[in-house]
């Protein structure tokens, strides 16, 4: 069990995952690191854990008005290279605002991602703009929605958590 020591409250049940294979040939310069917390349902979580990654946002391939997305939406904390108790607390607290064990997305997948350029910030245009910026930028931040769009193939899973509701 993981507790928020600053408030002495139980935060989540957390399990550490086996290391994901992550190799980059012609290793690029990394400009930014993020720890993310992606709330999802149990079946998708089981599938993501099996594969070690979160597949891109679901876009209907039969609808020509949608372009295939390269990334997924998540909550995150920028500037974190490793998962520590502090960074895990920070990201779980953010994810906790949107879901917990009693919601439709009871499982939170935690991981690390890298960006080869500093993130692009989106002020308007919602999901469509975020998808589009993700075509050329690794990390996209929606200022209005307070969420991040991260590329699936750069984001590796490290932990799985089930969050308790806030303000118990």
């Amino acid at each position: 069990m993981f507790t928020d020591d600053r408030h002495n409250m139980p935060l989540a049940i957390v399990a550490k995952l086996q290391l994901v294979i992550f190799e980059q040939r012609h290793r690029p310069q990394i400009a930014q690191h993020i720890i993310f917390g992606h709330d999802t349902n149990a079946w998708t979580a089981a599938s993501c854990i099996e594969e070690g990654l979160i597949r891109p946002s679901a876009v209907d391939p039969t609808d020509p008005s949608w372009l295939a997305a390269l990334g997924f939406h998540t909550r995150g904390v920028v500037g974190v290279r490793n998962v520590t108790d502090r960074s895990l607390t920070d990201v779980l607290l953010r994810a906790q605002k949107y879901a917990n064990y009693g919601s439709a997305r009871p499982v939170c997948l935690v991981g690390l991602t890298v960006g080869r350029q500093t993130h692009a910030t989106i002020h308007q245009g919602g999901v469509v703009s975020e998808h589009c910026a993700n075509f050329i930028c690794d990390i996209v931040h929606s200022q209005k929605e307070k969420r991040w769009a991260l590329r699936s193939h750069l984001s590796r899973l490290t932990h799985v958590a089930v969050l308790l509701p806030p303000n118990l």
């Binding site: 294979i21 391939p61 295939a68 050329i136």
Partner: protein, 154 residues
């Protein structure tokens, strides 16, 4: 650039090409998008109208992105999720056919002893906090155990 990501049982290989915008930033994109040129794509990323650019890509791209083998497919394409009441839910019919996945009932049944172990272990390690928030903690442990046992190999 090539990125390899996944588990030993299934590894994804993604190939990207550098996209030159003249800004000095290292930008990488799909092979099918690297040839796309549009005046909207300016070196100053903060000035780009992404919403309009999306339409431009949609209308003018030469190769459909869906056919680009360099990208990772999404769950909808793989039938892992389905539409339900304007939302998307897991497609349990699909998962029931996959090897190693249990049905919701099987998952609940098989996780009982693991659930008991987890509850006992956590209650011993966090006595006071566990007692204060027992109902919530037990419920969260149950969700964790059932999630793990959807695919026990996880």
């Amino acid at each position: 650039m090539t990125t390899i990501l996944g588990r030993p049982s299934k590894v994804h290989t993604v190939i990207e090409y550098q996209y030159h915008l003249g800004s000095g930033a290292q930008l990488w994109t799909l092979p099918s998008l690297v040839v796309f040129r549009c005046p909207l794509l300016t070196p100053d990323l903060t000035q780009i109208d992404w919403f309009t650019l999306y339409d431009m890509i949609r209308l003018r791209r030469r190769v459909p992105l869906l056919q680009d083998s360099s990208r990772i497919q999404n769950a909808f394409e793989l039938r892992r999720i389905m539409e339900q009441q304007q939302g998307r839910v897991p497609n349990l019919e699909h998962y029931s056919r996959l090897p190693g996945y249990l049905t919701p009932e099987e998952s609940k049944r098989h996780c009982q002893s693991f659930l008991g172990f987890l509850t006992h272990d956590i209650s011993r390690g966090h006595g006071t906090i566990f007692d204060q928030h027992e109902v919530h903690i037990r419920a969260a442990i149950r969700v964790m155990a059932e999630t793990i046992f959807i695919r026990p190999d996880n």
